[in-house]
Symmetry: C2
Subunit: 331 residues, 2 copies
Amino acid sequence: MTGRITITDVAQAAGVSVATVSKAINGRDGVSRATLAHVMRVVDDLGYESSLVATSMRRSRTNVIGVLVAEFEPFALQLLRGVSDALRDTRYDVLSYAGTVSAGEHHGWERRSLSRLGGTLIDGAILVTPTIAPDAPIPTVAVDPHVGTSRPATVSVQNVAGARAATEHLLTLGHRRIAHLRGRTDLESAQQREEGYRAALDAAGIRYDPALVADGGYRAAESTAGAHALLDLADAPTAVFAANDVSAIEMMRVATERGLRAPDDLSVVGFDDIPEAASHAPQLTTVRQPLLEMGAAAVRMLLAMLDGTEPDGVRMPTELVVRASTAPPRG
Amino acid sequence: MTGRITITDVAQAAGVSVATVSKAINGRDGVSRATLAHVMRVVDDLGYESSLVATSMRRSRTNVIGVLVAEFEPFALQLLRGVSDALRDTRYDVLSYAGTVSAGEHHGWERRSLSRLGGTLIDGAILVTPTIAPDAPIPTVAVDPHVGTSRPATVSVQNVAGARAATEHLLTLGHRRIAHLRGRTDLESAQQREEGYRAALDAAGIRYDPALVADGGYRAAESTAGAHALLDLADAPTAVFAANDVSAIEMMRVATERGLRAPDDLSVVGFDDIPEAASHAPQLTTVRQPLLEMGAAAVRMLLAMLDGTEPDGVRMPTELVVRASTAPPRG
DNA sequence: GTGAAAGCGCTAACAA
DNA sequence: TTGTTAGCGCTTTCAC
């Protein structure tokens, strides 16, 4: 709990000016071998490390990449892991920041975070499920972006195909009353997943029933009401395609609470394949997104941007993973 | 990619001084209602957000809590999630930092990270599996600390009991050649888990065989050699208690690579119960640590410290979770 | 009620 | 080779 050791402390202890210490630390020339050695020894003795904050105020580069998230939920965490792995053995450190989503102020967290950290602290940012595309002060890559993104620097997946495969899986099992627990409608991914759901129904000649679509917002807390609403229906669905895994899991939780079992009474398919999907009981049938690879792709794009080139966006494949939460309808 | 909007821009646009803008933003008094309203409107128009960096250089408080990790691996990520959840609805934002572990320089990352962020940027830190106890410039809580921690502010679990339960489970199944894939020996947890392993063997009257203990370092990459070594043994083990889940999973991977199957040819038990444990095939039998609760506990302790009180350390219970990676030995 | 000025820790011109 | 100085964006005295 002692105060931090600053460059001034080092300078004093070494009997030189702070400028000399700064040069020594950063390997600039204009420092004699003797002074360099001496300063470095004092640095070691005192255990001095330069303050990231002060350094980044003065310098343009910090060699830190920021992963900006609204919330540390499983999707973001897996992505973070992919980013971090990809950044190992580069000169970059990783810093992840979750700005407070002050009650309802969901919108705009990315602008706030970017504004607070960008230009200082981080050299580039990876935005996870951003709501808007703020004009960033630094190179920025968006993962699973909002709708209508015009900038090329985005990483996303084949949502339509994935959602369609999920729905077709349920159709193949014999389900006809298939509900959809929708995602965050401001995100492109949620809209595309709903589109895939409807396309599959269309192709099967099943009329779209708006009553079978409820809002889940990609979050457990926001899915609860929707899950109940679907099960309250007079002609309740026998299967649900949830827009992501956490809402699928919440769907099953609500069903269980009401005395229904998956997959016997209700089949449920998710989307994402977060680690929790396979550890749930029953194991969740879901559409796999290659989250670690997506993190790595985001890193590649960001490094390219930092190098001055403007990379193309990437859209990665998805894959249906059939597990235990789906079965033919009863009766 | 436009330059950041600074307080100076706001001041200029509003036709007032930066001091006035600062006061307005921070709700200090000494600003007329009219000026306040006017400044706030300009702030909104320009989309200004104060720079975290600049602010934290000048102020002592930043209302940001740092979670400092060596690496974003599953254990740290789950903990981060717990911390983040616990910090919701407080005035604190979460920032997580993984300093580069420059080849071999594993030791001391926490001192570097703390030094670079502490005193500025973050008000308090949660250190995940720190190797040493640096005297921190700010309140600090250690989760799963190194050996011989003297400070009270630590969060850990009942490692001995957990490890003992894991080993006893294997004994009960009928195993006698039980190996141990050790963890990071600089951490208290790894030593205690080995202790629990040996205690269980002792109690069962089985002589400890040093050849059956290999190093895993809690990491997949470091477990590979140890896993091979154990399987290379003339009298190979029929079961392995790995010090954490990632090394248990690596153990199984190596076994599979060599044509062995879990649990038929080799039973494996892990420790942690990260989400990946249950999603692995076969599902991993493991010792559960309440990771989310541990994150929440760390937050409680840290907030107490920020309030000026010195909290006691906590040690949480573990629980054996039997899944599919363990079975009686063959023959 | 408002603004000028100092200074947080650091780096980069520039002078000596 | 070294030190002096200015200034990054912000907050905080302290004059006015």
